[in-house]
Every structure is written in C-alpha cells, then in structure tokens.
Symmetry: C2
Subunit: 250 residues, 2 copies
C-alpha cells in the first residue's frame, strides 16, 4: 500500500486532509477514489491505514481505520555526516541510507571536498535531497522521514557532536594499520535511544588534521574492515552493520 | 599504489611481464617509467610490490621487491546470486559487492525478472560485468578478483547450492512476519573457509513458489531487518553484515 508522510503529529485525529504533492500523487498519479486505502505516516512516527472518504479539487480526506503496531525504525538514531562528495554521490547516499534506516543526513565541507557549495543553488539542492529521502522513506516503509541539512562547516560538525551520545569517524588510515575493533566496541557501548553521529570523509578521505581534531573532541576513529570502501559505500556499510548489530543479532 | 591483477599464479617468480590493457594503463594512462612501483596481484591471491625494470612497445617488465603479508579478503567465500534486475542495477551490485568482499556474482533468471537475457549480447555483457569487477577490485585493494557468471536458470541455481556449505535466501515475505534471527544464526554456524550462497530476488522479490522450492533444497529463508530494501541494496546489506560479523566483531 502506498504510504504518505504528513507533516503533522498524531493527535488522536480520525480524519486526515492531504493536499499538495501527495494530493497530486494520490489523485492524479495513483488515480485513487473513495474507499481506496493508503498508509499515513505522521511526523511523530505513527503509521495508520486510512480509507479515502472525499476527493475535492485540492484535497483528499481520509479516515483512519487502524494503526500499525510494530516499529520499523532502528533502535538508535543515526546521523550520517558526509564530507561533501562529487557529482550525485550524496543523492545516492541519501537514497540508500534512508532505506537502511538513517535518521538524518548532514553534509559538511571537508578539507578534501572538491566541489564548492554554491549558496545560490542551496535551496534547490536541499529540496531535491529531501525529496529523494521522502521517496526512499515511502518505498522502504520508514516510520520516520529522515531530514537532510545544508552543509555544515567543520567547526559546526564538531558542535553537532555535542548533541550526540556516540561520535564515530570512519578513518581509512587507522584501517590500514589493522584497526578493526573500535566500531564494534562503540556499538556495544551504545544504548537504544542514543543518537549516534557517523562521520565519513569525501573522496580521498579525511585529512590527518581533521581526524586528530575530531579525536580530540571525543570522536572514535574506526576502520570498517580491511578493504578500501568508496566514500558513498562506507555509510551504507556502517548502517547495515548497525542494523545487523541491533536488529538481527540476538 | 595502483594494483594490477595478473592472470597467473605466484610461482616464486621475481620478474613479471605485463601486456594488454594493464600495459596500456601503466604506460599510456599512468605514464610510468623505469623505477616506478606498482602492486601485482596474482590469481592465487598473492600481492607483491614490484618495480618497473623495462618498458617495451608491447610489455612492461617488473621485478618483485616485497610480498604483502596481511589478508584483505573475507574469511568466507560469498557468492551473490541476484535475480536478473532491470537496467544497470546488476553492474551496481557488482561494483559495490566487489568493494564489500564478494567472491562471485551469479545472476539467475527469476520468476519476476522482467528483462530478457539476450544470448547474442551475452559475450559483451559478461565482458563489461567482469571489467567492472576488475576495476572495483583494484580500487578496493582486493587480493582476489571476483568472477561474474552468465545467468543461470533457477534449476542451475539450486544445483550451484550443492557446492556450498551454507545457502541463504533474502525473502521479504518472512521479514514482513518479523523473521529477524535466521541470518545471524546462519552466520554463527558458518566456519571460516565456507562457501556461502546468498540469493536475492529481482524487483518484486522471489515468488512464493521459488522460496518454497529453495527452502525444500536446504536454503535458509531470512529477513534482513524490518525495512524493505531494494533489490540492489539487499546484497550490500548482507555483505556488510558478514564483514561486521567475521572481521569487526571480536
């Protein structure tokens, strides 16, 4: 069943009015009619089956028939901070990362970021990134819609870390020297409900200076196995390992 | 350092002659000269640093200066069997799957495979798929060059399972009913050196009939977490979880 994220909390309402893009998608793309059912996801993560009761020229009214019980979200909140990469790699990280359960995406301007962030294109870019997250969230049956932020400076990235219980950096250089236990150790120390900041470098990785500064601010430097992962692959590795650790291992 | 896979075993040779594409890459693309160093990977998985000693019009001669000690390969052999997907998704699975440590890729014609396999395009396709694997293997510092096979029939897929110690199917339907422990259980029972066959459906997943038939032949049906993963994302999830299980968890 098609799911739609509505930008309001679940306040015991039985009827929900849908307008804008989702209205367009329901009526024009899916060509749904009265009696057809959709899934509604409220912005506090509740999921309901709702039956369409009225279709006007601008809105669809649906009434909730039942609420989804089981959680489909990771027990930890994962914030993916990617050193701004080239081309469409970030779009790809957002799409796959959303499928794999990330809750936030925060690009940052890294020392080795080659692309320049153009403020005049910022609004369009952010719109596009968040649209990609929304579509992937719907397709992968997420209960929370991940948000994508405008790129942070390195300083702001370190400040963001202060709001997180666990701060981890994927750092190729420690991997080269065989570091393979820090990531699993960090996950073992992570409690359900914790906010975890995962930092990944752009192409070419983090600089030594960046890694040292992050380490000095309590970020754990980790290797993600003996093979060299591309900048767009490493976040997916980490998210899959986190799902395996918290959702599949018993 | 750039690495090159040479299609011969390590037979104590000190000197290695490189021709063909790799010759072209070393001399024309990288513009290397006498004294420059490259990494040589023999087809039995040994890695050597070699110094270029002679460059002719058709070949490069290099002599081994040292052999790489540590293994960069997963302790288990992972065969990724993907129901033939649409578009370039398989190319993508091959590139990322190679980075993540897969040792073989075996597409198969699944009940829900939409694309038709055209025999007359087979040679070109296979060449391209294996080229993608070779480039990803070089870039991710693999010590073994993964092979990509021509698509199997479903019957041949079941036969392939007979050569593997462990046979696993990612099956969305069991995931929907909350199955979350079979995958980790299967990995716990897997020994270093085992050959593991991982089967993934195309878009739309495996049919119930296919899943039942695989189950009847000793394949374990697994969910890969509560979120719905795309056909190209599921193999990467499994490979990352396997690396985490065997390489990072201590």
């Amino acid at each position: 069943m098609q799911r739609y994220f509505i930008n309001e909390p679940f306040v015991n309402q039985k009827r929900i009015e849908i307008t804008g893009d989702d209205y367009h998608h329901i009526v024009r793309v899916m060509r749904m009619k009265m009696g057809d059912e959709i899934l509604i996801v409220t912005n506090d993560g509740k999921v309901a089956t709702a039956s369409i009761e009225q279709v006007t020229d601008v809105s669809v009214e649906a009434s909730v028939t039942s609420w989804e019980e089981e959680s489909k979200e990771l027990p930890v909140q994962i914030v993916i901070a990617s050193g701004l990469p080239k081309g469409d790699k970030l779009e790809w990280i957002i799409q796959k990362g959303t499928e794999l359960g990330a809750s936030e995406f925060v690009p940052f301007i890294a020392g080795r970021s080659i692309v320049k962030w153009e403020e005049k294109k910022a609004v369009k870019k952010l719109e596009r990134w968040n649209k990609i997250a929304k579509e992937a969230a719907e397709q992968s049956h997420r209960q929370i819609l991940p948000s994508v932020h405008a790129p942070l400076s390195f300083k702001e990235l370190i400040q963001l870390g202060e709001q997180c219980e666990r701060k981890i950096v994927a750092y190729e250089e420690v991997a080269k020297y065989g570091e393979q236990s820090n990531f699993a150790e960090a996950l073992n120390k992570t409690e359900p409900g914790n906010k975890v900041l995962l930092v990944f470098g752009p192409e070419g990785g983090m600089t030594e200076k960046e890694a040292n500064e992050l380490h000095a601010h309590g970020f754990i430097l980790c290797g993600l196995g003996p093979r060299i992962l591309r900048t767009e692959t490493a976040p997916l590795y980490a998210l899959a390992a986190i799902s395996y650790h918290f959702e599949l291992m018993r």
